[in-house]
């Protein structure tokens, strides 16, 4: 039997949620920025290490401009994982990260939350890591949807995490 889990991509507008979504689901990337209105949903079936299959129902939501609390509540219902994406080159996309994570933990305690810093192709990883540590910004992974760096590994690990 195929398992089915809902994964919601959250974060500020222009951080690359749709790029990550397309890179993971269709292995495609476009330089063109297109606003996501509402939500786009796609399914990606992944093979788990134990041989089972998992349908990851990916919800790519419209980016917020201030806080994750702006995201429509109905989009978050029934989620198994949240991926909070920020743009490592734009401070305004992670300056409320700690408050946003607190909000998600408080209101969706059972949902796994992972944090991605995207657009790694634009800066040196070493510099970003040092800067984020200095600013006390937690993250699980740094990715580049453009170059596909760390994208597939991240989703594979997430698939395992939400089925455990």
């Amino acid at each position: 039997m195929t398992l089915s889990k809902k994964v919601v991509l959250l974060g500020h507008f222009g951080v690359g949620k749709t790029s990550l979504f397309r890179r993971f689901v269709d292995n495609e990337f476009s330089e063109e920025y297109k606003v996501t209105l509402g939500v786009q949903i796609k399914k990606k079936v992944v093979a788990l290490p134990d041989g089972r299959e998992l349908s990851m129902i990916m919800w790519d939501t419209e980016g917020h401009s201030d806080s994750v609390e702006d995201t429509r509540k109905s989009y978050l219902l029934g989620s198994h994982a949240f991926i909070y994406v920020f743009d490592i080159t734009r401070e305004e996309t992670y300056k409320h990260l700690n408050q946003d994570l607190e909000y998600l933990t408080k209101n969706y305690a059972k949902v796994i939350t992972k944090v991605i810093g995207n657009k790694l192709d634009l800066v040196k990883e070493k510099d970003v890591v040092a800067h984020l540590k200095e600013e006390n910004i937690p993250f699980d992974c740094l990715t580049s949807a453009k170059t596909n760096k760390n994208v597939q590994d991240f989703f594979s690990e997430l698939a395992v995490a939400i089925t455990q």
Binding site: S4, K6, G14, Y33, G63, R72, S74, L77, G78
Partner: protein
């Protein structure tokens, strides 16, 4: 089914579908999507997978999902989805608002794009600023590395000039000296530009003899005019105060640069230097300096680029220059809240007009003109012992050569501060020439030890002259504050070095 209550442009289509708790479509009107009865809603679109959680844990009665993208083949519908959960059946109602949402999407697209673009510009700007800061610090650091060998070149050429040379050798030495001075001027220009751009060049307000400044130009450029076979006229308005308050060094730099250019670009005719007063109020006045030549002029299309860095026009190519001079002039004028403009006619000549504000002291009487005081060594029969603290061999050799050639000095060399201290404890010296940046212990630390750690005043009061290749206007002040008696910048003229050494030894003897 159509909703006729909405404005025409937002006519919505609605599809109502009943689904069993197993996810089977029981009934649908297929208005938007051609779903078949008896098929699974989960196969219709992944959005409907979310129904599973309500099927597993019933309790919710109604849910609204606005703005959901649902594809139907190649078409992308944007719908508001309403889900009503009844005990035996789930009703899914899709409202198609594709047209409305696409309109909203365009506005959001423009707004977000403009924010992202402005952020990108900020980032690019930040990157450029960082690059500029790196360049400026690089120039400041490389300066020291270039000045040290340049000091040696200039110094040794001066030593060479005093030996018996053939006419050809004398000419070659003269060229080496001229080119080295040119290189030194280029370094000065580059440092000034980097200081201006990094905002570290500060305009000082000091009292200076304006009369002495302009007379200096008259003397210098009369000679240049004579050598070049052209005329030089100066016209200084009589009622300008003899002493003004302003940045003498930077005013000199501006005027000298413009006069120097005027002579460089004038092959016949004359150069005029005119100074007039614009206005005077309480203790403030504004002066206009006009430097006019009958040179080959500037093409009209080149004038807007005249004050840009590294600007060299086609007609300049025969004349030496760095292309930095006028950029520095413009920046120095701006920093002093002045104005500069240029008027030029090709083949007829150019006028640079500079307006600068100054202050003057209303009550204080003008001080008598200060001339460079002459000093002589106290006892001409005695040789004076100088300790040179310098870690670079070539500079050690140069200073030794310069001092020993005078015939009045003995010279010892210490390669760092520690060694200098041990020499001082063993032998009496008349003066120390202290490089500010020796390894292990720098010149400031060594001076501090000499001034503070010894009761023996032959050591603690020994005259110390600091020297360095870091040509900073604060260097002298820093040396004096740290307990030194004077400072000389590398590269130095032999005459200056001997003058400063003589002055300090003479002053010490007089105490």
């Amino acid at each position: 089914m159509k909703n006729d209550t909405l404005p025409l442009q937002y006519h919505q289509q609605v599809q109502v579908t009943s689904v069993s708790y197993q996810g089977i479509i029981e009934n649908t009107d297929a208005t938007l999507f051609d779903w078949k009865k008896g098929t699974s809603i989960f196969d219709a679109h992944p959005f409907f997978e979310m129904l599973r959680s309500f099927m597993e844990t019933p309790g919710t009665e109604a849910l609204q999902f606005p703005c959901i993208h649902i594809e139907n083949g190649k078409d992308d519908f944007i719908c508001d989805v309403s889900i009503q959960i009844n005990p035996d059946i789930i009703t899914v109602i899709l409202f198609d608002y594709t047209t409305k949402y696409r309109e909203v999407n365009q506005i959001a697209q423009q707004k977000n794009e403009s924010i992202l673009r402005s952020r990108q510009l900020e980032l690019n700007n930040q990157y450029l600023l960082e690059k500029e800061a790196f360049k400026n610090s690089f120039i400041a650091n490389i300066n020291h590395e270039i000045r040290t060998p340049l000091t040696s070149i200039l110094g040794f050429v001066e030593v060479l000039e005093k030996t018996k040379l053939s006419f050809e050798q004398e000419e070659l030495a003269r060229i080496i000296k001229r080119e080295s001075k040119h290189l030194n001027a280029l370094i000065d220009d580059m440092i000034d530009i980097s200081k201006i751009e990094s905002g570290t060049l500060k305009i000082v307000q000091e009292r200076f003899s304006f009369e002495e400044l302009v007379r200096g130009f008259e003397e210098t450029y009369s000679k240049v005019a004579e050598e070049k076979g052209i005329a030089f006229e100066s016209d200084i308005e009589d009622n300008i105060q003899e002493y003004l308050i302003g940045d003498r060094t930077r005013v000199y730099q501006i005027l000298n640069n413009l006069l120097n250019n005027a002579f460089k670009f004038t092959e016949e005719g004359k150069v005029s230097f005119i100074v007039s007063k614009n206005y005077q109020r309480t203790n403030k006045l504004s002066l206009t300096f006009k430097i006019e030549d009958t040179g080959f002029g500037i093409l009209e299309e080149n004038i807007p680029h005249l004050f840009e860095r590294f600007t060299r026009f086609e007609q300049d190519k025969q004349i030496s220059g760095t292309g930095l001079g006028l950029a520095i002039v413009k920046n120095l004028v701006d920093l002093q809240n002045g104005e500069i403009k240029v008027e030029s006619t090709p083949d007829q000549g150019t006028s640079f007009i500079v307006k600068l504000p100054f202050k003057f002291e209303v009550t204080k009487k003008t001080a008598p003109e200060r001339k460079k005081k002459k000093y002589t060594l106290p006892d001409t029969k005695k040789k004076f012992r100088i300790l040179v603290v310098e870690d670079e061999e070539i500079t050690q050799y140069l200073i030794m050569k310069v001092l020993i050639t005078q015939g009045t000095f003995f010279v010892d060399i210490a390669i760092n501060g520690e060694e200098a201290i041990s020499y001082l404890e063993r032998r009496a010296y008349d003066l120390i020439l202290m490089d500010l940046s020796t390894s292990k212990q720098d010149g400031f630390q060594t001076t501090h030890m000499i001034r503070n750690n010894y009761g023996d005043k032959f050591i603690s009061q020994i005259p110390i002259i600091g020297f360095s290749g870091r040509a900073d206007e604060n260097a002298r002040d820093k040396c004096i504050r740290s307990g030194m008696d004077d400072f000389i910048a590398k590269p130095f003229e032999q005459e200056d070095l001997i003058y400063k050494i003589t002055k300090q030894i003479a002053k010490k003897a007089a105490d």
